[in-house]
């Protein structure tokens, strides 16, 4: 089963490349900290060193090793992005399908709310809310990120459910008197799984964009070490101005950009995996 899924995913080369990279980056972000501890002490004699055997990605403005910061800096970013995406997908699926199935006042209220959230520019809203709330915990950050990003997916899910619920097999289940829970989870949801999963992955990229952006602007306190903090410090400390020091900025930029691109490419393979109709010539 697992092997077969993998084989289906290899059909789209770009997608499979994305899948491999995402797996590698996430695994490294969680496993590497166990083997490469973060050394936070300053080494004045080794400030902004060019890449060498001891420091493959050079050192930062305090002489700390860039590679170990990169290896240790992904966990929080990935955790917050994934949690935010999962929450926003959850809100979207629950609200969207309820709006479609219940209709009436609930439907119109939910749709107006979603349209409103969709119109307010997300990033400024995040800045203002994060500014007033002074977020410090990763989980509360994920909650806020989810709160502004569910609307588009919710509207899409609502219209999918609206069309799916008129299909014969759903009508048949309804005639059998099966409860709404069964209709939703057994009949309707499996048929839009590909859409939900892909939206989850894309929501992760949006959450990462916003999260790293907020860290860069210094709106989230720079307590923990992660890629966003590296970018923010590197930019603030003027690491751009020489070739040796710019590694401190370029390394986290490269990782974030690679992860974002891989996530987006991965959706192509996921589409093949969850959408059997795309699998032609089998």
């Amino acid at each position: 089963m697992l092997l077969r899924s993998l084989k289906i995913m290899t059909r789209n080369r770009m997608g499979f490349f994305g899948f491999i990279m995402v797996t590698l980056i996430i695994l490294t972000a969680y496993v590497a900290p166990l083997f490469v501890p973060l050394d936070n002490s300053a080494h004045v004699e080794a400030i902004y060193e060019a890449p060498s055997r001891a420091h493959p990605l050079g050192t930062d403005y305090q002489g700390r090793d860039n590679l170990s910061q990169i290896l240790n800096g992904g966990r929080d970013i990935i955790y917050v992005s994934a949690l935010a995406a999962a929450l926003s997908a959850l809100i979207a699926v629950v609200l969207g399908s309820l709006a479609a199935l219940l209709g009436g006042v609930f439907n119109s209220l939910a749709v107006s709310l979603a349209e409103m959230v969709l119109t307010i520019p997300h990033f400024p809203l995040l800045i203002v809310v994060a500014g007033f709330l002074r977020l410090t915990r990763p989980t509360s950050l994920a909650l806020i990120l989810a709160a502004v990003s569910w609307a588009g997916l919710m509207l899409a899910i609502r219209s999918q459910v609206l069309s799916l619920k008129e299909r014969e097999y759903v009508q048949a289940a309804r005639c059998l008197g099966l409860p709404i829970r069964h209709l939703l989870f057994k009949e309707i949801l499996p048929n839009m799984m590909s859409y939900v999963v892909i939206s989850f992955v894309l929501a992760m990229t949006h959450a990462m964009y916003a999260q790293v952006g907020l860290i860069f602007l210094g709106i989230i306190p720079l307590a923990s070490h992660n890629w966003g903090v590296m970018i923010s410090l590197a930019w603030g400390q003027g690491a751009i101005f020489s070739k040796d020091s710019s590694w401190y900025l370029l390394a986290p930029i490269a990782v974030v950009a690679l992860l974002q691109f891989s996530l987006v490419s991965m959706t192509r393979s996921l589409d093949e995996l969850f959408n059997p109709r795309l699998r032609t010539g089998e």
Binding site: T119, P121, R134, L217, I240, F261
Partner: protein
Amino acid sequence: MLKSLAVIFVVTTLTFFLVRLMPGNPLDIYINSLLVQGIPLADAQEQAASIYRVDLSKPVLQQYVEYLAGIFLHGDFGMSITAMGTPVSKLVLKFLPWTLFVVLVSLIISFSIGLLLGMLMAYRRETWFDHILSAFASIMSSVPNYLVGMLIVVYFCVRWKLLDFSDLRGSHSPDVPVGFTLRFFLDALYHATLPILTYVVTTIGHWMLVMKSSTLATMGEDYVTVARARGLRDGRITLAYVGRNAVLPLFTQLALSIGSVVGGSILIETIFTYQGIGQQLNLAMISRDYPVMQGVFIIITASVVTANLLADLLYSRLDPRIRVQGR
């Protein structure tokens, strides 16, 4: 129209209550900071009231109504805390045009070039031209724009020295007089080079990919086959039959794109120290200048909502189906 007004109203309400009902309410903090300086309570309250445009002795609901009336009837957003005595509305009027200028110019450039390339990709599909541009487009539309902005600074300005970063700072040169002259316009454009380049590079991929698939879908339509059967020239079919119809769905996305570009301007303008509304929001954030934050946020929302309305109007003008329905 009603919906747009509702959005602005909700955002205004949200910012009012965010300031007042939060733990660590900025109004109290401001009053306390004045008390520490030895200013008596009554004077401190009066000063805070004049800055936030609220009368603290009145009940919250009445404050709220007066706050709304101030904004919607007089365009009065209160005073800036850091720039003493400067009304927020004046700051907004000073910085907003620069952001709108950059966003509009970049959107026009990236939309038109993106459409052109997207159509070419559809007509040359499965050639090296299509493959290279598709790869470029999917990479560019997935990498965050502020990271691209930083890379542009590192490579174009520092390593290769193609552009002078410090000379490009700001929104216009101090020695060029402000006015409707060609010299001023070119100077403004020169200073906006980096933000425009960043926005164009990061948004163009999206337009290319969407236009490609939209063109491919339109090429299979019956009316295109009919046009071909009638023996019309290829150029005419491409422009009048395929092109015109393929572009239509893209206009609905234009509005969404304006929203995300204006939203991202906070990061881009901060990176390039471009003096627009986004940089102002960030500066207000750093100095905890809440009246400015409120005002700028409301104005950003209002401009995005207006852009949405304009895009809707444009779309209904362009699409005869909607135009006829509306009558």
